[in-house]
Point group: C2
Chain length 208, copies 2
Amino acid sequence: MKTDDNEKNVVWHHATVTRKRREAQNRHRSVILWFTGLSSAGKSTLAHALEEQLHQEGCRTFVFDGDNVRHGLCKDLGFSEADRHENIRRVGEMAKLFIETGVIALTAFISPFRTDREQVRRLVPEGDFIEVYCKCSLAVCEKRDPKGLYQRARSGEIKHFTGISSPYEIPENPELVVDTETLTLDESVQCVMTFLNEQKIVRFSELS
Amino acid sequence: MKTDDNEKNVVWHHATVTRKRREAQNRHRSVILWFTGLSSAGKSTLAHALEEQLHQEGCRTFVFDGDNVRHGLCKDLGFSEADRHENIRRVGEMAKLFIETGVIALTAFISPFRTDREQVRRLVPEGDFIEVYCKCSLAVCEKRDPKGLYQRARSGEIKHFTGISSPYEIPENPELVVDTETLTLDESVQCVMTFLNEQKIVRFSELS
């Protein structure tokens, strides 16, 4: 553009469309809902079911999980400890941009290490990272095992499998614990919805 | 969740909130507007000015540029050729997720290599990648040089600087060419707005 035009049009400055304006447009706050828990604890199922509810309420949402991240943004990464850290770092950085966009970012990754989760928490302003612990015992997760992963981990075919050959560090102070072992899916969804309503992140037509 | 509940609730399946439903909610199509051109050609300025207009029209948008990517998602990358390829790859993968979210993703990177841009184009369905060439001669870009980068590149302080010591591969068949050398910023914005309207990506209140 012509230089004089740039100088005249001070209104055309970088980032005039702020997160605050986007949130006002969307009529809800944007946050990261970080689902963590063992494999088969129900993180992804819960995140997608919650997203359906939120969408019906008119919210802007997106679910990140292995399906859309591991084959794309992180396809250069394996499952070594270093690569798993880097995977979570990138998901965190991406989720940060999504909340800048006014979107409720739901992430469904085992994310077994406290340091990784805390690193993501520190990326965003206080209150924007909501750690949701999907609490389900190893015994029950292993019994579900829809993809046969635990079986392959037990046989040694999969190395560094969380809960079997790699630790899962239980969240110490998660914003929310959802007992996915005993609650139905619908009850689990309502549990998060109630939290979002109480925290004034989303105002739901039925709940408020 | 209880297994029987999972089986009963077939409605709670993965990814029930599709891109199509998000686009319907937003009342515009989601695309990638990929701005490419020399440093100081006005990519980022144009992208942000366009975003302001689109936001006022009620669209969901996000601008990716060096500011929010190089310090975050790609902070592990330098400026070697390999790292520049990887930078563009990640931006492309991220932009892909943004269009899945129903957002118009505007990216403002020099992205000097055709192969990189074509790689991003192939990531998404046909018609969703809109290459916008910000056409401005090296002489004019170098004269603008708001950050003194060309000067530092000429002195050899910055290596591999596009246009000076590294090539810029002009787009062969971009969807749109914006002559940012001669157009004012407002004219440049209108040029893209008209294109988006003609392509029925966004229906503008004033233009339609």
